[in-house]
Symmetry: C2
Subunit: 194 residues, 2 copies
DNA sequence: TTTGATTCGGAGGATTATACTCCGTTTATG
DNA sequence: CATAAACGGAGTATAATCCTCCGAATCAAA
């Protein structure tokens, strides 16, 4: 595969995620090509139909976020930190955005990634619950759904930067809870490293 | 205004919200009329253009949720309860759904409703903070944005009923926080009255 | 019940938006 | 430098959506 072809292919994937976020749904193929600065034919050469494009975008986002999550397991200072870092990074990898056009959940594709994702999430949850860091009645699906929800664009008429910032703040609040009490609040993301 | 005309008008508003939620954006006018079981001309008679329809839908949702919120101020057992009840009811009134197609925030329309909404939210927040029920660093915008976020459809491939149920559960978690500690968790919605 | 004004329905034409192909030109790489 | 690979974008086909029009149906006042 020629170098420029590979570059274009990856760029198309990135641009597609951007556009999904802006449009709030499936962007037109013309718009994707225009935004990427390539001819429409180039898009068709790499992705003969819309489905294959979304498929590739989804797989890419999933791979990235799983890899990042696995890294969190070894890098984090404790099990709670691992959980929160994972959620923030999954948002940055566009899991919520991609899920607007591709059903990541309830999808039979990629049994390999599925298994990795499930084992990763189970480990993260079990560690945090075993350490008594999070409530025992939380379920893995709560984490999955929350990550998707917080990663989605919030409102029309909001800049992308604002949207991302609000997403991370809300995730912090979600992690910390609204009610004041003697338990510490989670350290806000902006004051943590990374 | 003839009785059947009024009926149709209101039904069109309801159906539009349903469709926004299902489509995840502006539904086509043909689809709205078809779902409502009326001719396309009836839709045009009541709402000459798309904007006037969305305008009416948005105003309706806003009025409902403000009225419900004002009721919460007097009905609730304490200031924290008022806050959480308001948020749950705003979701049910479709604030998050409507916001997908109409910029409720940053909109110059309806200064009257705007003032009522602001004063309502200020009161709810101030009461809860004055009573020490919620963290002092929360802002009104956190409540507004959170209500919108939790009210939006979560994922494609999810039934409406499931979606709503997940939304309320997530809102409960948001209110309670993930971290376990000595502070009580908020009482889950399913175990509260109403 | 009659009567007339109001409201309704949906076929159909105009207008876009989007999908997709084709082939001459350009670019990478041995 | 040669040539296989990749590119660009004009242009057509297709489909979705918008919107108007007018005869039929419905409501409500007398």
């Amino acid at each position: 595969m020629r170098a420029d072809a590979r570059r274009n292919r990856e760029h198309l994937l990135d641009v597609t995620v951007e556009l999904i976020l802006e449009v709030g749904g499936e962007p037109s193929r013309d718009a994707i090509a225009a935004r990427a600065g390539v001819g429409i034919a180039t898009l068709y050469r790499h992705f003969p139909d819309q489905q294959s494009l979304l498929h590739a975008v989804a797989r890419h986002a999933l791979e990235q976020s799983i890899a990042a999550g696995e890294a969190c397991l070894v890098n984090s200072v404790d099990s709670f930190d691992a959980l929160t870092r994972y959620m923030h990074s999954a948002i940055d990898h566009g899991i919520g955005v991609v899920n607007m056009v591709y059903p990541l959940l309830a999808n039979p594709d990629w049994p390999d990634l599925r298994a990795r994702a499930e084992s990763l999430l189970d480990t993260i949850m079990n560690n945090a619950q075993a350490d008594g860091k999070i409530h025992v009645d939380l379920e893995v699906s709560d984490i999955v759904f929350a990550t998707i929800r917080f990663g989605r664009p919030l409102a029309i008429g909001l800049s992308l930067a604002d949207d991302r910032a609000i997403a991370h703040r809300h995730l912090d609040l979600y992690i910390a809870g609204l009610r004041s009490g003697t338990a510490d609040r989670a350290q806000p993301r902006s004051k943590r490293g990374s």
